[in-house]
């Protein structure tokens, strides 16, 4: 992707990343009471503007073709299990209970998950708005010919 539509691709990558976060939050919430489940966390990573930054650093004379930015956006770097110990709940009737009658539940805190969910949802909206703005901008380009 390059040129005008790079902009849309970048915002789309933001949408994908936030959706991935939302998916993991949903999984954590769904498995809040599943013994043996480990809470997962998403870490995001920047996809840099490769050619443009490299060119600026090397000081090479950029042609008009190279002016268009390449790459850019965000990607999910990793979905890592949360290493913290789970909650120990006394439930002797549970078939998965240990000899003391305790079941280990994941350390999923619904409050944390809900706040993360709000963040992911709002960030999704922000990217959707940026995409909408980009779309309007490109439509304006055609106004030159009108």
């Amino acid at each position: 992707m390059s040129g005008m539509f790079n902009n849309i691709a970048i915002s789309a990558s933001g949408l994908t990343a936030e959706r991935a976060r939302l998916d993991v939050i949903a999984e954590n919430l769904a498995n809040a009471n599943t013994s043996g489940y480990q809470r997962k966390a998403v870490s995001l990573q920047e996809v840099p503007f490769e050619s443009v930054l490299a060119q600026a650093q090397s000081g090479a004379a950029a042609s008009n073709a190279a002016m268009t930015s390449q790459g850019g956006g965000v990607q999910v770097a990793a979905i890592t299990p949360d290493g913290n110990p789970g909650r120990r709940v006394y439930d002797p009737d549970n078939p998965q209970a240990d000899q003391q009658g305790y079941v280990t539940l994941p350390n999923v805190n619904p409050v944390t998950e809900m706040t993360d969910m709000i963040t992911a949802s709002r960030s999704y909206e922000a990217n959707a708005t940026a995409l909408q703005t980009a779309k309007t901008m490109f439509q304006r380009t055609f106004d030159i010919l009108r």
Binding site: N7, S11, S13, S43, S69, T129, A134, M137, I144
Partner: protein, 143 residues
């Protein structure tokens, strides 16, 4: 007008090479360059918005106005009708750092995206107006 430096007693447009076409004057070139710069800035701002939750991310920006201003001044000084300007995406070192090491502020980015889009819209409208003016001229001189 930018680039129309008067070198003799004659009006500046007579100093242009005869093959020179007036629609591609410095103003037109500056408009085109602005559109290019604004488009590139939109990508940079979209990149910042996409990385709103990336810890340690450093925001990027394109200062196309300064580059263009410089290029127009240089063209003016040289009496040249060719605008030579390049833009690049640069890391923004001045923004405030968040607790997680990122330098993106969602409100600031949103405002900048809106501002940049409006600027782009203004540029396209000026270009459209210039094009209509040209068309009007052609209609007047035509049979």
């Amino acid at each position: 007008m930018a680039g129309l430096t008067q070198r003799s007693g004659r009006p500046p447009f007579l100093n242009r090479p005869s093959s020179f076409v007036i629609i591609f004057d410095v103003t037109q070139q500056a408009l085109e360059a602005s559109l290019r710069g604004s488009s590139m800035r939109a990508s940079a701002l979209a990149q910042n918005m996409a990385n709103i939750n990336t810890a340690g991310y450093q925001r990027v920006d394109v200062d196309f106005q300064s580059a263009l201003n410089q290029a127009v001044k240089e063209a003016d000084a040289a009496g040249s009708q060719n605008l030579n300007v390049q833009f690049s995406v640069q890391p923004d070192e001045t923004a405030a750092v968040r607790e997680d090491g990122s330098t993106v502020d969602v409100d600031q980015e949103g405002a900048m995206i809106a501002q940049n889009a409006l600027q782009y819209q203004g540029l396209t409208q000026v270009m459209a107006a210039r094009r209509r003016m040209m068309e009007m001229t052609m209609r007047t001189t035509g049979t």
